[in-house]
Symmetry: C2
Subunit: 337 residues, 2 copies
Amino acid sequence: MTHGTGGTERRTVPDGLPVSIADVEEAARRIAGVVVPTPVLRADALDAAVGARVHLKAENLQRGGSFKLRGATNLLASLTDDERARGIVAYSSGNHARGVAIAARTLGIDAVVVMPHDAPPEKVAAVGAEGATIVGYDRYTEDRAAIAASIATRDGRTVVPPFDDPRIMAGQGTVALELAEQVERLDVLVVCLGGGGLLSGCAVVAADRWPGVRIIGVEPDAGDDHRRSRAAGHRVAVAVPRTIADGQATTMPGEHTWAVNGALVDEFVSVSDTAIVEAMRFVFDELNVVAEPSGASALAALLSGVVTVPVGARVGVTLSGGNVSVSRFARLLGETP
Amino acid sequence: MTHGTGGTERRTVPDGLPVSIADVEEAARRIAGVVVPTPVLRADALDAAVGARVHLKAENLQRGGSFKLRGATNLLASLTDDERARGIVAYSSGNHARGVAIAARTLGIDAVVVMPHDAPPEKVAAVGAEGATIVGYDRYTEDRAAIAASIATRDGRTVVPPFDDPRIMAGQGTVALELAEQVERLDVLVVCLGGGGLLSGCAVVAADRWPGVRIIGVEPDAGDDHRRSRAAGHRVAVAVPRTIADGQATTMPGEHTWAVNGALVDEFVSVSDTAIVEAMRFVFDELNVVAEPSGASALAALLSGVVTVPVGARVGVTLSGGNVSVSRFARLLGETP
């Protein structure tokens, strides 16, 4: 349990973090023509359930169905002409792949994407539809980063990692930058957490824009590497998580993301797959939007009581992705016709 | 088949229509604190499927899950203090009931709502949750308007009809007024059509704001009373429609709505329940939002080819509601876990 008290003191941002607020502001300008501003959703039933004023940043309504387009576009738009001509290679469980594929097509860059064999088929299909070449691997026995690195070496391609790169982190931070223009002030910010790209970028913005904000990262129970790293005082790895939250199935915090998140994030918590499913049901029923498991985890922490906030607090929550097929959705929610 | 050509001539708006553009503008000011502005959704896959630039006005993201809150709020906010004190009575298949209930609670007005026994249970529950008193009736054998009228006479309550009232029509028209602020220009406007409240209000705005726009109303095949009325040259009734589009199960155009729609709407078309289900699937898969059957009918007309538009045309489409439970949604889409 954590109590987001939302004090009024501005937190100290250490010098030398890999991403600055200026980096995020620059990313916002760079990606403006490619990403769309996403709405902030509110609902009486949501406020009642949480006992606070909850603002859902609906990145499930982003192009490509998740926030991932932001970081991918920022990195690709930062490449030199020579790098663009030689193409890129990315690795991803799904949403980063799709974001990279959209950004690459938009910017005219050839893309190869390394995806696990057990990625949701609709995510693989969506990447293929954008014109990227897909290379499969076994998530439990092979090292996707090594596969991508060997392709990069062979072809002269630039690697576009899913989270552990300051350009990716700055791009994802534009989610919070946009939110800061849409809401007046936040006491608590709750962010979905896999590798830490979204959380780190948002933490940089939150520390700058909302003095005293409490920043919370939410992992799936099976992949609580950030919580364990905080407890250990350094980055530690967990076994490959078996969770419905495929976008958060990372084993270890990134080097660059941890430099930010370790310094700025107040608390790391985790949620069960059951709590995630209930959050998916809640947003379907009460907000008429679709969240995928990874995208619903931050809200799940609030609805399940893993995170509690003061009555009436102003809370920002990322609804970070919505890429789930109708049949997977129905299966997860246990619905029979 | 209809070809929305989007000419450049401003249509002639007859004198003496029951709703003017000034009425809609006044409604927008009156309801501003209660309704939320809804986003316009776009998707590459949607543009590709239709062959045009499609702007989905997402009223499924409105408070109460549909556009109905707009008209209800406009009517209730127009009542005198004495009328407010005596309360209101409404009849509805679901979404109007919920809109009325929210508006009544917000404005502190006691509400009775007459709902059919076969209304989706989640819609009935949502109305009850807002504090309204619910009176049930049989949609196939009883006259809901007569039931509401007798309650009104008995208690001195004001009747809030679901569509055939200029204050309701003006309120629903704020959907298009808001859309006109969000998009530069439209060549074609495609609107979900039951009793005609939404269409009539939007038609008044479209005629004023988008010269040459082609206005199309979309009914379910089983409830094509507007199409038949246009063919007959006067209002005609159909049997109570059996369709999944419960919000469009009306039997006859309204008197006031027909005065507007008969004059301003270019074409009335109808879609099958199958086409509606496919549109619901499309917005789930490609836009990550939930549409109920009635709310998806306008888009269904475009996706199924019932309405065709010129390549590259700028098309506005109402996604007018999203109130469908997870289990009904899964059942309609034929999903088994």
